[in-house]
């Protein structure tokens, strides 16, 4: 198929349909409205159902019902809406239901703003809802990558019975780029024998549930979940290393910010400064090993984490660097976007010994 020009949000929606998603439950919020709008037209054409819920709270619980019934289900929202969905996401993680949740992140806290941001990193990777749980969190840095990873997200969700979050930002959602819809590598997926489909008198009732009133059972359930999370960490961690070999300074950046950092790296190269980048593609599981390896690399003097936030992912970079090399931060937030020039300047300061 030839490349076509697609807007990020619509491309994500079409990718979901191509991945077999037939149910979408959502609520309007900027800057992700093109996703539900697109789904409202396209899903009925594919024999699916689009439903505009009365709130994000209801939407995520419709996802719970649909996913528990065995369907491929998606919802999308932006930061304040994801906060409202947090309760439901915790239940979905607890009940081990597969689904895909898109967060086109905007500035916060509170109502914040509607411009691109990455200030929901903590919410996505460290919880958001209550309890010990994880989501697979995928952070595309181009519309093409958003399309590829959205399709794969449904397979990951089904393989591990886990909610997968596509974490874009206003930039990924709103910009248009050339896209090719390609089939993703086939995975062997388990049958959904646990789904509620009516017993048909042929099996015992299936129960979709996250309640374990006996504390030992509840602990056992958590231990089971974490065994699964370990397996996901081993199998699904994704990262792009860019010019890390021989780099003096290694940037760590994801999503839209990573594209800007690449620009800065090329500028630095022209000035004779060797810079590289570790770009986490999965924010959870975080590519700890890539950062550890760079920290052990003799050429590396420092890390510079660049985010569209006040500094959230930097915590994971510090944990991975484990004190071996200093970890610095540069960020813009609230919808402000870092410029390549500002990143170059900050890198020079770091290499010049600034704290």
């Amino acid at each position: 198929m030839a490349k076509e020009l697609w807007k990020g949000n619509e491309a994500i929606a079409e990718a979901a349909i191509k991945a077999g998603c037939r149910y979408f439950f959502g609520y309007p919020i900027t800057p992700q409205n093109e996703i539900p709008e697109y789904m409202s037209l396209r899903l009925p054409q594919e024999g699916g159902v689009f439903l505009q819920a009365e709130s994000e709270v209801a939407a995520i619980n419709m996802v719970y019902g649909g996913a528990g019934s065995g369907a491929r289900v998606m919802t999308s929202s932006s930061s304040p809406g994801i906060s409202l969905k947090a309760e439901g996401i915790s239940y979905i993680a607890g009940a081990e239901l597969p689904c895909v949740i898109v967060n086109i992140v905007r500035g916060g806290p509170g109502l914040g703003g509607i411009q691109p941001a990455q200030s929901d990193y903590y919410q996505a990777t460290k919880g958001g809802g209550h309890g010990d749980y994880r989501l697979i969190v995928i952070a595309p840095s181009s519309v093409q990558e958003a399309v590829d990873l959205t399709q794969e997200a449904f397979d990951m969700a089904d393989q591990y019975r886990i909610p997968v979050m596509i974490m874009g930002d206003g930039m990924i959602g709103q910009m248009m780029e050339p896209v090719e819809f390609k089939p993703v590598a086939k995975r062997v997926l388990p049958e959904k024998t646990w789904a509620t489909t009516g017993t048909g008198g042929k099996r015992k009732p299936n129960v979709i549930n996250s309640l374990f009133i006996d504390p030992q059972e509840c602990e056992n359930h958590n231990i089971k979940l974490f065994k699964k999370y370990d397996e996901i960490t081993a199998n699904e961690t994704r990262v792009e290393n860019y010019n890390v070999e021989g780099a003096e300074i290694v940037f760590v950046a994801y999503g839209t910010t990573a594209r800007i950092v690449k620009n800065a790296i090329n500028t630095l190269a022209k000035e004779g400064i060797k810079a590289g980048m570790i770009r986490p593609i999965t924010l959870w599981p975080f590519p700890t090993a890539a950062v550890e390896a760079a920290a052990d690399q003799a050429s590396v003097k420092a890390f510079l984490t660049v985010e569209m936030s006040m500094g959230q992912m930097i915590d994971d970079v510090k944990i991975a660097a484990n004190g071996k090399k200093p970890v610095h931060f540069y960020g813009r937030t609230g919808g402000m976007i870092p410029t390549p020039a500002a990143i170059v300047e900050h890198a020079k300061k770091v290499l010049g010994g600034a704290k």
């Binding site: 619980n61 649909g66 019934s69 009516g198 979709i208």
Partner: protein
Amino acid sequence: MAVVFDKTKGLTDKPFHYCPGCTHGIIHRLVAEVLEELDLVDNAIGVAPVGCAVFCYDYFNCDMHEAAHGRAPAVASGVKRVHPDKTVFTYQGDGDLASIGAAEIIHSAMRGEKFTTIFVNNAIYGMTGGQMAPTTLVGQKATTAPLGRDENHAGMPLRVSEMLATIPKAVFVERVSVHDVKHINQAKKAIKKAFQTQMEGKGFSIVEVLSTCPTNWGKTPVESLKWLQENMMPYFPLGNFRTPEEEK
């Protein structure tokens, strides 16, 4: 030996956890009997609430979901949209449905979601220990209304059936009680009609069942049945508020 009475196949063998004198057990059995009589047990998918009936997923002998507090109608909407040919129901108490889940029940009714809600109204939060509910009567004592509900402070109890009956797609709305045999039989008829309405694809159906809570009302089971009749029924009058026939 001839079998003269048998437990419905709509229930599992798991013993109920309900307090002595609580009418949840009766209501469970009515729902299960109706499912069996309509041959829907193998076709049904239920959604349990948070509240006293939270464990009903262990009692109904069909596929079940356990929802977050108040969200059962949203979960049921998701289930029914995926399985439009299945029988879907929610079983919810007054805190779950009329307080935290008010938006979900209203909008499910507004959309005409084709599932059935069994709404158990006992005018109190049971599981958490007797706090005031949206349906607690004026003057009725609760652990968060120790002097009795004051209408100037906490407002007046919500009449859910009357409210939902104003919604065009809520096609079957009836309030029943289970305080004596006659009313239990009437309640079962209403529950059956609600499920039939669903299976005929006519729209949203709900049966509000007035129920007792001897533990948190501080009364014996017998006193509770009397208190329901004397105090709840005047404010929450029994009767049918909507039937599909009215639409014609």
